[in-house]
Amino acid sequence: MKKSTQNLAFYVPYILWIVLFVIAPMVLIVYQSFFNIEGQFTLSNYATYFQSGTYIMMTINSVWYAFLITALTLLISYPAAYLLHYAKHKELWLLLIILPTWINLLLKAYAFIGIFSQDGGINTFLRMMGLGPHQFLFTDFSFIFVASYIEIPFMILPIFNGIEELNEGLVNASRDLGAKWWQSFTRVILPLTMSGVKAGVQAVFIPSLSLFMLTRLIGGNRVITLGTAIEEHFLTTMNWGMGSTIGVVLIVAMVIIMFLTGERKKKGGRQA
């Protein structure tokens, strides 16, 4: 009897934390989303969301950009993690990859403004080569580039961990049994590291859906995502209901992504 109360007491801080900082905010957002700007209880926010072409377009935009960012980071991160696994001073390289995450996001964004601007490093170089200045800031390219740069560590780490856990013997066995390099990659390495890839995709795709500071600083608001709309509804329109509605849609979208990329344990253990 005494033991069980003791155990319960240990749970209290965690339960409190989850209730106060996870469940309560979600409930509040859902609750807020049912009120229109005049403070009446209504479903009209959801009706507006799904009926207006603007929000639907914005959703498609957000998902599209998040997809591009995720795809690009994955493309860079998988080979990087793979090479890292075989690299000599693994810990040092890993540290170098993690290091940029210690720097504030805003600072990194401002640094890129300096690099991409008309008088910035890249354009100075291009001018020197006689290729003339180009507009980099406020383009899709720069937005996706900077967002990918920021997200890359979050993709590399889980993939790296996945590859580290990979049993080298299995790869060797597949080679011994006559598999080509490509075959052992697609049949052995990739499936066994898939959980790392999925974790990485989750860690990148979900935050990418609602990047709003980068859309303004680097994208010059020529790239609009749902995050921009939420910011506007909370700060300028003071239409918290509509802002919350978009927030709820984002949460639902994230749950869907989690479900799609999550591990689905099958009964019996054997995968089909």
């Binding site: 377009m57 507009q135 800031l137 406020f138 609009i224």
Partner: protein, 357 residues
Amino acid sequence: MKRLISMAAVILAAVIGLAVWSNSLQKAQGATGDNTLNLANWGDYIDPALVKKFEKESGYHVNLETFDSNEAMYTKIQQGGTSYDLTVPSEYMVEKMARAKMLVPLDKSKLHGLNNYGSLYMNRSFDPGNKYSLPYFWGTLGIIYNDKYVSADEVQHWNDLWSPKFKDNIMLIDSARDIMGFSLRSMGKSMNTTDPNTLALAKAKLDQMSPNVKAVVADEIKMYMAADESELAVDWSGEAADMMANNSHLHYIVPSEGSNLWFDNLVIPKTAKHYKAIYAFLNFITDPKNAAQNAEYVGYSTPNTAALKLLPKSVRNDKQFYPDATVIKRSEVYKDLDPKTVGLYNDLYLEFKMYRK
């Protein structure tokens, strides 16, 4: 279990200890005394030397707190927990706060030198008879151009911004009211239009301008313009002054057909307590000498015409920041629109931002 309880007790004791300590610190600073003035202002919007001078002359201690948006300040005061004696909302926010009964009327008998303020800047629609507010600084919305790429006569009117020669070369300030506003103005309509059809037309007109728009940004616009990143920008006069201080090629124009006229105003929120200090400060800042010093530091246009006379001739005659009275008369002050219309402005504005070039 015992350990857990003792841990909790330690944390609780630490919290209480800190609370007592911070309270005593505040007392030491005189924050709870009667000789203070709690001033909420925008960042870097008063000459620090002037604050020192006021403290020395009057003996009141000034607690300066800053905010960065009218809405944030409004929410803070509305939700309580602040004890501001004076704050500096923009004109539409004065109207909104007055309507929400968050302001205390000014006692004119305690104010001296009200006739220092120019008649153009008093008794405006947002606060008839200046019941609640005294103008602090004012300004306009206009076009900033870089004379390396653009000549003055190319950008005399709002409609010039639609010219194809400025393709991908205009930066806009990220503000729904202002961007929709100049589109309305270019059509000869009021910047306070509430008719949904007219607003839709203004937005459609903005869409046509989209190829010219390089970016829609906020504060960064100052940095970009100073760094020659764009040839043109639409921004407020105060921001323009900041940019021009960093790049001598930049100039500011208020289109002659009129623009927005904005005012930041000193008001007494209902949270005020130190009335003696408040009126001492209001009289202090109304004094032409002090107002002139403040205007020189902040670089915005002062509504204090007596102070203006003390400023150097180059400032006084600067048409960029003190446009002709006819232009001022043609310009409009924003009204506090009903929430539905504000929502409409913002939705249309979002759609404009989404419009692909």
